[in-house]
């Protein structure tokens, strides 16, 4: 599957869907989208990796950077992951304790409400 990143808004939450393989080559595009969503006022972010087929430490770096940008304003970043091989990357790095991980987009959205201004 070719890499793609798309963003939609649900109330104050940005839902970023990542498809395909995310590595050193494609991660900058993901980062650009994540930073843009936060700068445009997203109070929380859900990154949907349902269609993501590969991630690595570069991807993790983008996610950590996004979380650092959100935290000062109390925003949150949650993940949707269905592939156990994708989940494993978070488990072995300990980042499963940093990012809430859900199995569906609806579940993530309900658990990651945008803060009321």
């Amino acid at each position: 599957m070719n890499f793609s990143v798309t963003t939609e808004r649900r109330d104050g939450t940005a839902v970023i869907a990542l498809a395909g393989e995310v590595d050193l080559y494609t991660a900058p595009e993901f980062k650009q989208e994540l930073v843009r969503a936060i700068e445009e006022g997203a109070q929380s972010v859900v990154v949907d990796m349902t269609d993501t087929t590969f991630i690595d430490s570069t991807t993790l770096g983008v996610l950590v950077g996004g979380l650092k940008r959100l935290r000062p304003s109390g925003g949150r970043l949650a993940l949707v992951i269905t592939d156990p091989n994708i989940r494993k990357v978070f488990d072995i790095t300990g980042l499963d304790r940093v990012f809430p991980i859900h199995e569906t987009r609806d579940e993530a959205f309900e658990a990651t409400p945008a803060r009321t201004p």
Partner: protein, 139 residues
């Protein structure tokens, strides 16, 4: 059945996917299950990415060489490059970023059964070798 394959590409991020595609092809021939394949792709990408990051410090010059050793019992992969290795600082590191080199090496060690780091015999570059055993129970 055993084989040795070599892949060489320029130290540029757009070529990273080639290393993974070779593994996908080999998994059709050797008893590598999906979990093992995922781990090998991850380890290989981490090693290759480290090479390429350091290459950017040299204006993108250089190349990455991958050697795949395949047998029914294990897959061994070596990644050679012309850079300073996993432990060297990266000049253009994003201050917001993780220490991706350190995390990458930790990931490789977590998903592989053996990992070794070294230098080219002539001292001109870095080398990493990692091995994943293909346990029959896992395959």
């Amino acid at each position: 059945m055993s084989a040795t394959l070599r892949l060489t590409f320029p130290s540029r991020a757009e070529y990273l996917v080639l290393g993974r595609l070779v593994l996908s092809g080999l998994a059709r021939v050797y008893p590598i299950d999906q979990s093992q394949l995922a781990d090998l792709k991850l380890a290989l990408t981490e090693a290759s990415s480290n090479s390429i990051r350091h290459a950017y410090d040299r204006d993108g010059a250089g190349r990455v060489e991958i050697v795949y050793e395949l047998a029914d019992t294990h897959v061994a992969i070596e990644v050679w490059d012309e850079g300073p290795g996993f432990d060297a600082p990266t000049e253009h590191r994003d201050p917001e970023a993780l220490d991706e080199g350190g995390l990458g090496l930790a990931i490789i060690r977590a998903v592989c059964d053996e990992t070794k780091l070294g230098r080219h015999p002539d001292g001109s570059g870095a080398w990493i070798r990692f091995v994943r055993y293909l346990d029959e129970e896992e395959a």
